[in-house]
Structures are given as structure tokens and as C-alpha cells.
């Protein structure tokens, strides 16, 4: 059983962080960044994040897992058909990776290979179903497996998405398909988080709130213009704009979000993008 599933099961407040594999074969920076992560339950390893080609998330997660760091393997439907997804999941299990974050993935148009052919053979609901099937001992063709994986599958959600009801019907489908936890897109608004958590209550699935450290108003504007699903409210952009030390202000904003999460959610997922050293402050 993974630490993450154990802690969520015990009602402990969990903290996850994330790390991106390098663009190339040099793992030293990624491994050094993981060294700096303290007080963290598990580390998400992103999968060609933002549709930018990087070293395989499975490879880095396997390495970390072997070094004793618990990982959450992110896996997207953008780059693989159902055969590749299944074989990667079995590969992950063979390295002892249990925690999964199963995603449809950003469209390849946004990344550094915009001419590539996006796959999307499965969607995230179907991917969750497939993982559940593997855990039950059969592949998508109904063939039985020689050695059955144990996973703790999670899914993503954007609590700010509108129409809310439409977004939420997919959350319900993901729960039906075996999502055991949710990690949210970055949360910037307390009311939006509260509305979402209220709707989640009957489903009884733990929610780990996404908290993004925004270091400047420039970064906030960039996110608003370029990153699907992320909208930093104007009031926060103003705060960052008028702050003397915008990174410190960003840390303060992240601390506030962590406080809301402590009130309503079962954990936080920190995205600090190179400022891993500020994590203790964000959590204090």
C-alpha cells in the first residue's frame, strides 16, 4: 500500500509536490530538486507537461521510486494509444509505482511539437476504467495478466470550470471508474473551492487542492493567456504587481490557499516551479 493511500485513508493531511523530467538525459537537477523536498508524502512526476517533450515520466518515477521516494506517476492520453498506456502502466507496477494521476492531457498544439499527431485513443474516464481492469487482472482485450498490478489511481479536476454541472458529471464518472483521489487544478478562490468541496461531499473521495506558487504578475498574466484551465483572478495579479517583493507575495498567496485547503480538503499539491526551498514557508 502506498504512503499516499495510507495517509489519505487515515485522514492525515497530505502534501504532494511535483517535478518535471529534464529535456535530455541529465537527471541531476531533477534529483537535486527532489532532495530539497521535505515533509512531502509523494512527488508527482509530470508527463510531457504542457505538451512539451521531456524524458519519460515513467523513467524518472522509476528512478525515484528505486531511491525510496514515493511518486505519483502522471500519465496522459495525448501521446499513447491504449496498448502503449497499458504496457506503460504494467511497466510502472513492475517498478513498484502505485500512485497514478490519469489525465487526458493538454492538446499538442500548446507544446513544442505542435505538428505532432495527438492520440487521445482513450479519455481519462476510459483510462481509469482500464487501470481498474488491470488491477482486476485483465487487460482491455479481456486477456488475463500474469502478475497483477496494485495501483492507487487518481484523477484531475478543475473546480473553477464552467458550466460547473457539466464539469462535475465527469468527476462523478471518474469516481465510478475507480478514481480514489482527486488533485485539483490550481485554486485561487476560496468560494470556488468551497462550492466544489460541497459537491464532492457525497462522493467521499479525498481531494488534494492544487496550489501554484506565482512569483510575479508577469507569470500570472502568462498563465492566464497560455495555460488551459488556469485563471489567476485580477485581484491577485494586482497584489503581485504592487508588492515590493513579488515572490514573497506569491508565497503569501500560496499560504492562504493552503489554509483554505486545510479547512476543506484532504491535502495540498504544491507546484513551486524551481522554488522548492520555499515549501516549508508555504506550509507553515
Amino acid at each position: 500500500m502506498s504512503f499516499l493511500s495510507e495517509q489519505l485513508g487515515n485522514g492525515q493531511f497530505v502534501v504532494t509536490a511535483e517535478i518535471a523530467p529534464p529535456k535530455g538525459t541529465d537527471l541531476s537537477e531533477a534529483l537535486a530538486a527532489v532532495e530539497k523536498l521535505t515533509g512531502i508524502t509523494a512527488v508527482n512526476v509530470t508527463d510531457n507537461q504542457g505538451a512539451n517533450m521531456r524524458l519519460s515520466s515513467l523513467a524518472l518515477a522509476a528512478r525515484l521510486q528505486q531511491q525510496g521516494t514515493e511518486t505519483v506517476l502522471q500519465l496522459t492520453c495525448r501521446d499513447r494509444n491504449r496498448m502503449a498506456l497499458q504496457s506503460d502502466l504494467l511497466g510502472a507496477a513492475s517498478f513498484g509505482i502505485e500512485n497514478l494521476l490519469l489525465l487526458s492531457g493538454d492538446h499538442s498544439k500548446f507544446g513544442d511539437h505542435p505538428d505532432s499527431r495527438p492520440v487521445f485513443d482513450l479519455d481519462s474516464v476510459q483510462l481509469l476504467d482500464m487501470a481498474a481492469g488491470l488491477m482486476a487482472g485483465t487487460d482491455m482485450a479481456g486477456k488475463s495478466l500474469d502478475g497483477v498490478p496494485e495501483f492507487f489511481p487518481g484523477a484531475a479536476v478543475n473546480p473553477a470550470a464552467e458550466p460547473f454541472e457539466l464539469m462535475f458529471q465527469k468527476v462523478a464518472k471518474k469516481v465510478d471508474s475507480g478514481a480514489r483521489f482527486f488533485q485539483t487544478q490550481s485554486v485561487f478562490d476560496r468560494e470556488i473551492l468551497e462550492r466544489f468541496m460541497l459537491a464532492m461531499q457525497p462522493l467521499q473521495v479525498p481531494v488534494i487542492a492544487g496550489v501554484l506558487l506565482i512569483r510575479s504578475s508577469r507569470m500570472a498574466r502568462f498563465l492566464n493567456d497560455n495555460i488551459p484551465g488556469v485563471q489567476v483572478p485580477e485581484t491577485l495579479v494586482q497584489r503581485l504587481d504592487s508588492a515590493e517583493d513579488s515572490l514573497a507575495e506569491g508565497v503569501e498567496i500560496a499560504r492562504e490557499a493552503v489554509a483554505w485547503a486545510r479547512e476543506h480538503c484532504q491535502g495540498v499539491h504544491l507546484m513551486t516551479l524551481g522554488h522548492e526551498d520555499r515549501i516549508p514557508e508555504i506550509l507553515s
Binding site: 487526458s104 492538446h107 474516464v125 476510459q126 464552467e162 458550466p163 488551459p228 484551465g229
Partner: protein, 218 residues
């Protein structure tokens, strides 16, 4: 109809570099409607060839260039002009181009790029709504195809990139799932939201597609 557009002139110049005399083929169906291979365009193409110092030995607009037998018949009617040409230029979709290339020994140069099966919004404005997947889900999606009109072809609802009902890939376009949701709601039915849709059976779309009416149907 099949939506097509003229290739860039630069590319055509290269493709035609080795030929002096050309026979031009257009299509009276889709390529005419797309203003890419009808009478006007064949005429304009001929003028352009002349500007390039090349000759047109003749031209024909085939009723539906994708009709293999009709293409063969129409080309026979222009046998001398076809014979006289170094190559044929075809202003039709890729399907039409191949009807021609399968009927002549000469080199065939396609003049158009074929893009998609398009619905007509109004004349000159075409939209892709069906990608011919062979396993139609429209009855559950209030007649809006997510396989084609969702940028990711998702089958169980919107992705996390949907923003205010618009698509992450193009903010000008409404998210297919938001449209499906609204229409199903106004029809007071659940449709595709009532079940988890299993992965698509893409084997119905294996290429090359082939289809024959069964005996007694024709």
C-alpha cells in the same frame, strides 16, 4: 462535401517544373463548390500556366471526379488532348486525383490539398462535423459529434481545459461538450451523460475502407 484548396503556387511550380504541356482536369462537384476546381478555377489555372510559359493541351470538368468509371469515360472523350500532354494536372480532391491517376499512364499532378468532410454553413464557409468513424454516437450526444468537434475527440465529457464553455484549443470555439450538455438539457434527456462510454471501436475505421452493397440492394 470534401473541402479542398489550391496548393501554394510555389509548390505547384516545383511539381510542374519538368512539364511544358498539360491537360487540366476539374471536378463539377465538391471542388466546384469549394471554388478550387470548377470552371473558373480551371480557366484561371490555364492562364497561370501560360504565364509560366507552359501550354494547356485541353481541359475537362468531370461530373464527380471521384467516380472512377465516369472519369475514365470523360478522359476517353479527350483522348487526343490527353495524349498530347506531358502530364495531367487535377484540380479535385485526393479521391478525384486518384480516379484520374488510376485511369491514365501519364504522370498526374494534384493541384489541391484535401482537408475534410465539410458541412456548408453558407456558401464558402465550411465546417468539419463528422470524421466518418464508422461507429456513430450522435444519438446519445443530441446530434453533436464529440469525436470530431471536440479537439481531443473525448467521449465522456469535457477536459480540464474547458473555460466558460469554450475550448482550450481555440477560445473562439465553444467546447463541444458544453454544446452537447446544453442541448441535451433543453431536450430534457441525459443522453451520453447517463453512462460511461467505453473506448471507441476504431476497427470500424481501419483503412483502406471498402464497402459493397449486398445483393438485391442495388
Amino acid at each position: 462535401m470534401i473541402i479542398s484548396e489550391l496548393k501554394p503556387y510555389e509548390e505547384l511550380q516545383q511539381a510542374l517544373a519538368d512539364f511544358d504541356k498539360l491537360f487540366i482536369v476539374g471536378c463539377a462537384a465538391c471542388a466546384t463548390a469549394c471554388k478550387s476546381g470548377g470552371e473558373d478555377e480551371v480557366f484561371k489555372f490555364q492562364e497561370w500556366l501560360n504565364e509560366q510559359g507552359k501550354d494547356a493541351t485541353g481541359s475537362v470538368i468531370i461530373d464527380e471526379a471521384c467516380h472512377i468509371a465516369r472519369a475514365a469515360r470523360d478522359l476517353r472523350h479527350h483522348k487526343a488532348a490527353v495524349q498530347d500532354a506531358d502530364a495531367l494536372v487535377v484540380l479535385a480532391c485526393g479521391s478525384g486525383i486518384q480516379s484520374i491517376s488510376s485511369n491514365v499512364d501519364k504522370q498526374v499532378v494534384g493541384g489541391l490539398n484535401s482537408m475534410f468532410l465539410g458541412n456548408v454553413r453558407r456558401f464558402g464557409q465550411y465546417e468539419e462535423m463528422c470524421s466518418l468513424c464508422g461507429d456513430c454516437i450522435l444519438n446519445e450526444t443530441a446530434g453533436i459529434c464529440p469525436v470530431t468537434t471536440c479537439a481531443k475527440g473525448l467521449l465522456n465529457g469535457p477536459c480540464g481545459g474547458m473555460a466558460d464553455g469554450h475550448c482550450e484549443v481555440d477560445a473562439e470555439i465553444e467546447c463541444a461538450w458544453s454544446l452537447i450538455f446544453e442541448r441535451l438539457k433543453s431536450q430534457q434527456r441525459q443522453g451520453v451523460f447517463a453512462r460511461r462510454v467505453p473506448p471507441k471501436n476504431w476497427s470500424r475505421r481501419f483503412q483502406p475502407g471498402r464497402y459493397r452493397l449486398k445483393d438485391g440492394e442495388s
